[in-house]
Amino acid sequence: MKLAVFVSDLRNTVDTLDRLKAEKLGIILVQNGVYHAVIKEKGSASPLLKKSADFYALSEDLETRGLSSSNIASGIKVVNYSDVVDLIFNNYEKSVWL
């Protein structure tokens, strides 16, 4: 399946993301999930970014938190709400909110 997983938190209390198997996986960082795209802890980037997936981060939520798109980890595409609608309809068959 082509699955978009919306990660909305910095700390996940569920390990579901690690277990999901999909032929095509997109991870869309929204709300507090956008911190994964920018913040490093003890110098290391978020372990989430090691997953084999296409990564996106919502610009409105980055900017709300004072995070700059210029500091985004490489390989993450910055998208807006309109782009997210296109991702949902055109790129992924199913969506999951974590």
Partner: protein, 137 residues
């Protein structure tokens, strides 16, 4: 005649938040959705408990006695009575040191034929692939 399949995935334990119970009540409402649809059209609901969500399945819940609310256990039994497919992740039960003896497995006392199926996560992932839409709780 068309069928839309929905997968309800419950990841969190019960009671502190209402969402696991709402997953069940929404899944159960698949039984009455036909009032909105054309004759022969259907919506089916598969329910899976994963991660901490398997804790919803522990039996002998006393929610009614202590908080005067329906138990999640009773909703699982209703789901079985209505022939919903209810899956519980085997690895997560084992992680908590739980077995089939500790959880709701059937609703035989109400005449339900369906039983809870304890399955590997891989089977739950397969269900997720087979349904049309996913609803994570």
């Amino acid at each position: 005649m068309a069928t839309t399949k929905l997968g309800f995935i419950v990841q969190r334990p019960p009671y502190k938040t209402e969402n696991p119970k709402l997953a069940l009540t929404h899944a159960i409402s698949s039984q009455s959705v036909e009032v909105y649809l054309k004759d022969g059209d259907l919506v089916t609901a598969d329910v899976a408990f994963v991660g901490d969500g398997v804790l919803n399945c522990i039996k002998n819940q006393k929610a009614t006695e202590h908080y005067d609310i329906s138990s999640t256990e009773s909703h699982i039994k209703n789901s079985l009575l209505l022939d919903l497919n209810v899956l519980v992740c085997k690895e997560d039960l084992e992680k908590f040191g739980l077995s089939e003896n500790d959880i709701v497995m059937d609703a035989e006392e109400f005449g339900a034929d369906m039983k809870v199926k304890v399955v590997p996560f891989a089977e739950i992932n397969k269900m997720m692939e087979e349904v049309n839409h996913l609803l994570f709780f």
